[in-house]
Structure formats: structure tokens, C-alpha cells
């Protein structure tokens, strides 16, 4: 097989991990909330999904339903994290950055606790469901057909999010809330409700990324340990894609390729690279993000800037 094609085919599923986190974060940021808890939320999503899989092991539930239930559990886990974050930042108006970082620390730690607990208590039993996440017609590991259910789910979610944001009244209202909450409030939009719902649904979507990474992309017990690092890349991807979910589909695959560049580029170019140079290549996604930030900041095009109300708590003018 063409090594380049193989490279792309491996990058797509990895990219979907970013895509989940990125789509979720875009929805949250469009409501004016910078959720740095995304890495932690993705971890929690993985843990919740795996825990549900473990509980369903040995029951008579059909495989399709097992997949759906575990996805729902990951989603709900994310929503709960999003609800805590929203309560702190929307209702109590806590600093968004501090709250988000706390959510990440909490999520990563809790995930370690849950995953270790499961490991000590019957091993890595949840991995039995790995095949359920594939379509029955998936044969070879090196073809598009091998892409699992959640790869398509990620694409669908991103497209739906893009449609909602640009073409519907709900999307218009959500963008107004993130751009200028006072204006949105003045025309009768329920700012608090929009912020809560967008943040919670966004967190739920991001959480799916964790489950996807463990059960589809990595398929190993150790996988949960790398979710946090990928979560930060998802946050960076939001900037890279200029807050547009449909661009993030391409962006996520590109990020997947860049992330794998360390191991793939040398084989592709048939050169010998010192093993110590690999981390340098792994920096590529971040370097690209910085370049995008510089380019968009210089161009100052208003459409490419973050939502104007991002990071600012909204106080209704009490007079």
C-alpha cells in the first residue's frame, strides 16, 4: 500500500479525536465561554463510556445498543462536567480560565482513579467491546472501511453544528450571545439559558472524543493517559479553524497528520531520523496554531477573530 495513503488513513481517525473536542469547544466559545476544561472533559467521557461498557459486559444487550448506551454515558458525563463549569462561570461568574483549568485537573485525576479502579477489579474488561465500534463490513485495517461508527458520528456532529450556527435562528442567537450578550439580552434572548445549553452540549460532544480515542483509535488500556495532551490540541484546533466547525473537519485531519509526523515523515521520505528528534516534529501542530494566530491577528479581519464576548462574564446592567 502507498505509504502516503496509509499515513492519511491513520490520521483520519486520530483527527476525529480532535474534531470531537474542537466542535464541542467551538459551541462553548460561541456562547462566550472559553472552556479550558476540555481535556479533562474528554478524559471523563472516556472513563464514563468505559465504565458503562464494563457494566454491560456479559448481559444480553445487543452490540449496537451497547455502543449507543456507552456513547450516551460519555455524553452525559461530559454534560455533567459542562454543567459544573457553567454553574461556576455563568451563574457565579467565576474566572473562566481558572475554572477551566480546575475542570481539567479534576477530570484527568478522576479518570485515572476510575480507570485504575477498573483495572484492579477484573482487568481491562471493557476492551471486549472494541469490535462493536466497527461496522460489520470492516475487513482490512488499512482501508476507509475500517473507520468505525464514531468517525462518522464526529463528521455528522461537526456538519450539524456548522449548519446550526450559520443557518438557523438558534445559531444566530447563540452567536449574538457570544458576541454581545447585552444586545442579545435587550432583544429578549435568554442569555443564561443559551450559555448553559451551549456549554453543556459542547462539553458532551467533547466527551465523546475521549471514548472514541480509547475504544476506536487506540484500543488499549493505557490509552486514557494520552487523552489530556490530545485535548489541548483540540483547544488549539479551535483557534486554527477560526471558530468554524466545517473547517475543523479538514483541520482535525491535518492536525492528525502533523501529530503523527514524528513517526511517519521519516519512513515516508525514507530518511533516518534520530529518535530524540521525534518530539520536535510533534510540536508541529502547536507551531502551526501559532502561525495561524499571527496571520489572523495581523490581517485583523473581523470574521476571523474570536467571539467578542469570549472570556467575559455577563452582568446584566442593574440600574
Amino acid at each position: 500500500m502507498n505509504p502516503f495513503l496509509d499515513y492519511i488513513l491513520t490520521s483520519i481517525p486520530l483527527g476525529m479525536t480532535f474534531l470531537y473536542g474542537c466542535t464541542g469547544e467551538i459551541l462553548t466559545e460561541k456562547a462566550g465561554h472559553l472552556n479550558l476544561g476540555i481535556p479533562g472533559i474528554m478524559c471523563i467521557g472516556g472513563a464514563c463510556g468505559c465504565f458503562a461498557l464494563k457494566l454491560m459486559n456479559g448481559t444480553n444487550i445487543p452490540p449496537a445498543l451497547i455502543v449507543i448506551i456507552s456513547i450516551l454515558c460519555a455524553f452525559i458525563g461530559g454534560i455533567l462536567m459542562g454543567a459544573v463549569y457553567s454553574f461556576l462561570t455563568v451563574t457565579l461568574k467565576a474566572n473562566q480560565n481558572v475554572t477551566g483549568l480546575a475542570m481539567t485537573t479534576f477530570g484527568v485525576g478522576t479518570t485515572k482513579f476510575i480507570m485504575n479502579g477498573m483495572a484492579g477489579n477484573g482487568g481491562t474488561i471493557y476492551l471486549y467491546a472494541l469490535d462493536y465500534f466497527r461496522f460489520p463490513f470492516a475487513e482490512s485495517t488499512n482501508s476507509l472501511k475500517y473507520n468505525g461508527v464514531m468517525v462518522y458520528l464526529a463528521l455528522i456532529i461537526a456538519l450539524v453544528a456548522s449548519f446550526v450556527l450559520t443557518r438557523t435562528r438558534v445559531g444566530l442567537h447563540l452567536r449574538a450571545v457570544g458576541e454581545n450578550p447585552a444586545t442579545a439580552d435587550a432583544v429578549g434572548i435568554n442569555v443564561t439559558m443559551y450559555k448553559y445549553v451551549a456549554t453543556c452540549i459542547g462539553s458532551g460532544i467533547a466527551a465523546l472524543g475521549g471514548l472514541f480515542y480509547i475504544m476506536d483509535y487506540a484500543g488499549s488500556y493505557e490509552a486514557y493517559k494520552s487523552i489530556e495532551a490530545l485535548g489541548w490540541l483540540a483547544v488549539a484546533l479551535v483557534i486554527f479553524t477560526l471558530w468554524k466547525p466545517h473547517i475543523s473537519i479538514v483541520g482535525s485531519i491535518l492536525f492528525g497528520m502533523l501529530y503523527l509526523a514524528g513517526s511517519r515523515i521519516p519512513t515516508l521520505l525514507k530518511i533516518q531520523l534520530d529518535i530524540s528528534a521525534t518530539p520536535l516534529l510533534q510540536m508541529l501542530p502547536y507551531v502551526v496554531t501559532i502561525i495561524v494566530l499571527i496571520v489572523t491577528s495581523v490581517s485583523k479581519k473581523r470574521e476571523n477573530q474570536p467571539p467578542a464576548g469570549l472570556g467575559l462574564p455577563y452582568f446584566r446592567e442593574e440600574r
Binding site: 435562528r169 454581545n180 444586545t183 442579545a184 432583544v187 429578549g188 473581523r302 467578542a308
Partner: protein, 522 residues
């Protein structure tokens, strides 16, 4: 009048704390008329309109629309009764197009289709003669276009009673004329228009009737056709109130600050200072009167070195060395290094004057932290100063370690004025130093300013209460739309005279325009 009544207010009152913003106001608005609401700053015009638009809720009294008594608790309620307000500060999402802003928040049960909205907005604009592109983004628009969007937003929601809060404040005379044409067309369409303003010539040119408010009370509603500018001014400013502020005769006056031909434009290219020239003398209080936003803030900030005029000179005569320096284009540090002792009490106390989260001592240090050569700051002297100010000015505070933010407005102002005076200035500028203060605190501030004047300081006082200006100041500079329209002797002037000068420039702009057209015709 045979026209049907659209809106009726009976005995409406609104209090903020113990302060009456509106007291027993009666107002009637007919269908198909333009009613001007006239009054000075802080006379309760905007509060009254906000009650109709659902932003405030009246403490007492009733509001009826089409003869039916209604309860308006939110802007949404107001829209339900066909009332829409266009605020002075636009509420628009910059990144959205005109049509997107107009449709925002409208729930009419139809599917959201931006093309349909674009078409409807265009239709509406054509009907009343607005010039607007529904697909244009707000951030690409001029101020007058943004205002058009705001008006369309209200019309799109089906309002037939429109309230405009000082619509001409941000417009050029030509744009204002255009707006007035549109308003007249809306009147012909049977809409009722309330227009808040303090520009007399506008009142006379557009309105059918005028309601005059003063200090929260409704003075009279008169037919525009039967009134004159001077009659309206008299109603607006009212009779003179004796305040008994001490005003000693100025002694040993000499020129301290000479401002020559200052010009400045703001970010949108509008002239905010137009050829300002005056002299501030040591040992006297120079008052600056004018409608809010006539360039007072820019003038003081230019002198303080916070913003930079395009042309002109700010000459400072140093009393110690006898030298004269031009302060224009120098920043505050450079001004201080020249040995100029300038104190500035800005309008925005907690934004520009003090740091709200820091205590009184730390706020004192904002002026003195550069002193001393050690890497450690000296908290002792500022601490002593803080104690002195708290004692002498009777600042009500638990201790000097209390964050300034927690003090009441009057006490915050005392801290700020105390600090500025402690720097023993040669020029003291105070912008609205008594805004929001109770009577006693206000008199403390007046006495402090007078005390400084007697010490030979050149005091510049920007005020809004004409009674205070007339009793406190030795000379009064009247500004209007960035121009000086008169310099009066505080002892021999009247409120009416100031009031007329405050609204003067607009008429002269119109005569200028007339001259231009005359020239073109010739």
C-alpha cells in the same frame, strides 16, 4: 386636537433611593405626531422614556396605550404594545449584517430564512426612505447607518410608538436633516414619535408639540408653532435657586494656562474640539458649562496629557521659574518632569482616578510611587497622608486599609480630591466632581475648590448644574459641540444666558449651511 390618543402617562413617578428622577409626570402622545421631550442633563427625560420602553418600572402612576391601561415590565412588554426605543448607545452585534441584527430575537413562528429577512428589511427601508443595505456588516457602517438599523429594528417588530433618545447627538447636520425627513414620513404614516433632545432649534424644526421637563417634573407641554426658543429656555432652566456658596473675590490673578486654537478629531473623524482658545488664571475658578459630551472631557484630557489634539498650543506659565512651556503632545510623566504641577479629578472616578480594589493608602501611592530610590516602596508617607485626608475631609471609612470600591460615591470623591490637592497643584482640574454626591459632600467639595483658589491655584471646574456654576465660578466658559460659544463673568450672568449659549452652535451650523447654499445659488 382631533387625533386619537396613542399613549398617556398619568402621575408617573420614579425614585432612585431618595432622589426623585420623575415626580408626578403627566404626558399625552397622539397618533401621527412628533412630540419633543426637552430638558437639561439629569432632568429625568431618559428615565421617563425608559419607563415607557420597559427598562425601568414606575414607582407610581399609570401608563395607557390606546386608552387601555397597560403594565410594561420589560422591553418585550413594550414591544407587545407597539412601543420601541432607539437608545443613544446602539445595541448591535458588530459582526452581524443589518438584517441579522434586525431579526435577532424575533420569534414569529416562521422558519429562519435570511433571504426573506433581507427582502422584508429592504421593503421597510424603501417605504420610509431609509438608505441601508441589509447585507452590510455593522462594523463597516457609519454611525448614522447604525442608527438607521436601530430604527429599522424597532419598525420590523411592528412598533408604532417610537422613542428616540437624542438621535442627532451622533449625526452631522446633513445626516440629521435626512433623519428628520424620515421621521416626518413616519408621522404621516400615523406613527407617534417621541424625541428626546436638548437642542432647541431641532425642537422647533421637527416637533408638533414640546414637553418640557425640569428636575424630574413636567413643567408644560406647548404647541411648537406658538412658542419661541427663549420661552422654552426659560421653562428649561427655571428660576434661579440661591445656594449660598462662598465666593471670595479673586486676588493676585495672573495667567497660568493658556490654551490656543486647540483642534481634535475622534476615532470616527468627528471634530470634538474646534478651535478652543482660553486662558485659565491663577487664583480663580474657571467654570466650563455645556451639554454632556460637548468636548469637556477631551479638553481636560488634552491638558492633562492623556490625549493629543491635532493642532493648537497649551502654554503653561510656571510660577516658580517664570518660564512658559507648551504641554501639547507630552504625556503625564513628561508634564510632571517639566515641573508642572497639574492635578486632575476625572469624571470617571473609579476608572481613571482611583483603583477600586486597592485601599486608600495604595491609592495615595499612585501619585508618589516614583519617589525614593529604594526598590521597596515607602508606605509610611502615603499612609500618613491617607490618615490626614480621612480626618480632615471626614471620609466615612472603617480604616485607611478599606478598598476604595466599598466606599460611597461621596467618600470616593473626597479621597480623590484630597489626593489631588495634597500634591499642592498649580492647576487643578475637576470634571463633574459633585456628580452623585449628596448636598453636604457637594459643599465640602465646593469649599475645597474655593480654598485652592484662595491659595493661588488655577481651578478649572466642569459642571452640569447651572446654579452651582453661576455661584461658584469667577468666569464661565460655555462650550457647545466642541466650540466655545461664550466666556461669561460668573458674577454678572444668568442661567438663561448660559442655557442659550449651550445650545447655540447648531443654529450657527445651519446658518452656515444656508450661506453655502446661498453661495451655490449665486
Amino acid at each position: 386636537m382631533s387625533k386619537p390618543v396613542a399613549l398617556e402617562l398619568k402621575n408617573v413617578s420614579k425614585y432612585f433611593g431618595s432622589l426623585a428622577a420623575n415626580k408626578n409626570v403627566d404626558l399625552t402622545v397622539y397618533r401621527g405626531e412628533i412630540l419633543a421631550i426637552l430638558g437639561e442633563n439629569g432632568c429625568g427625560k431618559t428615565t421617563l422614556m425608559n419607563m415607557i420602553a420597559g427598562i425601568y418600572y414606575p414607582d407610581s402612576g399609570s401608563i395607557s396605550v390606546d386608552g387601555q391601561e397597560v403594565v410594561i415590565r420589560s422591553p418585550k412588554d413594550a414591544f407587545r404594545h407597539g412601543i420601541g426605543m432607539i437608545h443613544q448607545h446602539f445595541k448591535l452585534v458588530d459582526l452581524f449584517t443589518a438584517a441579522e441584527n434586525i431579526v435577532l430575537g424575533v420569534k414569529n413562528g416562521q422558519r429562519y430564512n435570511i433571504k426573506e429577512v433581507n427582502r422584508k428589511v429592504q421593503e421597510l427601508a424603501d417605504k420610509y426612505g431609509f438608505n441601508v443595505d441589509p447585507k452590510k456588516k455593522i462594523y463597516e457602517m457609519s454611525v448614522s447607518e447604525k442608527q438607521t438599523v436601530e430604527i429599522l429594528k424597532v419598525l420590523y417588530r411592528g412598533a408604532d410608538i417610537l422613542i428616540l433618545d437624542e438621535p442627532s447627538a451622533v449625526l452631522t447636520p446633513q445626516e440629521t436633516d435626512k433623519l428628520f425627513d424620515v421621521l416626518r414620513r413616519m408621522r404621516e404614516d400615523g406613527k407617534s414619535i417621541l424625541i428626546i433632545t436638548h437642542k432647541l432649534h431641532e425642537v422647533l424644526s421637527i416637533s408638533d408639540r414640546v414637553a418640557v421637563l425640569r428636575k424630574g417634573e413636567h413643567i408644560a407641554t406647548v404647541d411648537t408653532a406658538t412658542t419661541t426658543a427663549s420661552a422654552l429656555t426659560e421653562m428649561m432652566v427655571g428660576k434661579k435657586v440661591e445656594l449660598n456658596i462662598k465666593r471670595p473675590e479673586p486676588k493676585n490673578t495672573c495667567d497660568r494656562l493658556e490654551v490656543q486654537g486647540l483642534n481634535m478629531v475622534d476615532a470616527e473623524g468627528i471634530k470634538v474640539l474646534d478651535n478652543i482658545s482660553f486662558t485659565a488664571r491663577a487664583g480663580e475658578i474657571l467654570g466650563i458649562a455645556g451639554i454632556a459630551g460637548s468636548g469637556q472631557r477631551e479638553l481636560l484630557e488634552s491638558i492633562a496629557g492623556l490625549c493629543h489634539p491635532v493642532t493648537g498650543k497649551i502654554i503653561y506659565h510656571n510660577p516658580k521659574t517664570g518660564e512658559s512651556e507648551d504641554l501639547r503632545d507630552k504625556d503625564p510623566v513628561a508634564i510632571r518632569e517639566l515641573g508642572v504641577r497639574l492635578s486632575f479629578v476625572p469624571e470617571d472616578r473609579l476608572g481613571m482616578g482611583l483603583v477600586g480594589n486597592m485601599d486608600i493608602v495604595d491609592n495615595m501611592m499612585l501619585r508618589s510611587y516614583r519617589k525614593g530610590h529604594s526598590i521597596f516602596v515607602d508606605r509610611k508617607k502615603p499612609g500618613d497622608l491617607a490618615k490626614k485626608i480621612v480626618e480632615e475631609l471626614e471620609v466615612a471609612t472603617p480604616s485607611t486599609k478599606t478598598p476604595v470600591r466599598r466606599l460611597s460615591g461621596g467618600n470616593v470623591q473626597k479621597v480623590l480630591v484630597g489626593r489631588e490637592i495634597a500634591a499642592s497643584p498649580t492647576v487643578l482640574m475637576a470634571a463633574y466632581p459633585v456628580r452623585g454626591l449628596d448636598i453636604n459632600s457637594s459643599y465640602t467639595i465646593y469649599d475645597l475648590l474655593t480654598e485652592q483658589k484662595e491659595k493661588g491655584v488655577s481651578v478649572i471646574f466642569v459642571g452640569e448644574d447651572l446654579d452651582v456654576l453661576v455661584e461658584l465660578c469667577d468666569r464661565i466658559l460655555v462650550v457647545c459641540a466642541g466650540r466655545i460659544t461664550g466666556i461669561l463673568d460668573g458674577r454678572n450672568t444668568t442661567k438663561e444666558e448660559i442655557g442659550l449659549l449651550m445650545t447655540k452652535t447648531e443654529t450657527s451650523a445651519e446658518t452656515e449651511k444656508k450661506e453655502v447654499t446661498d453661495n451655490e445659488n449665486a
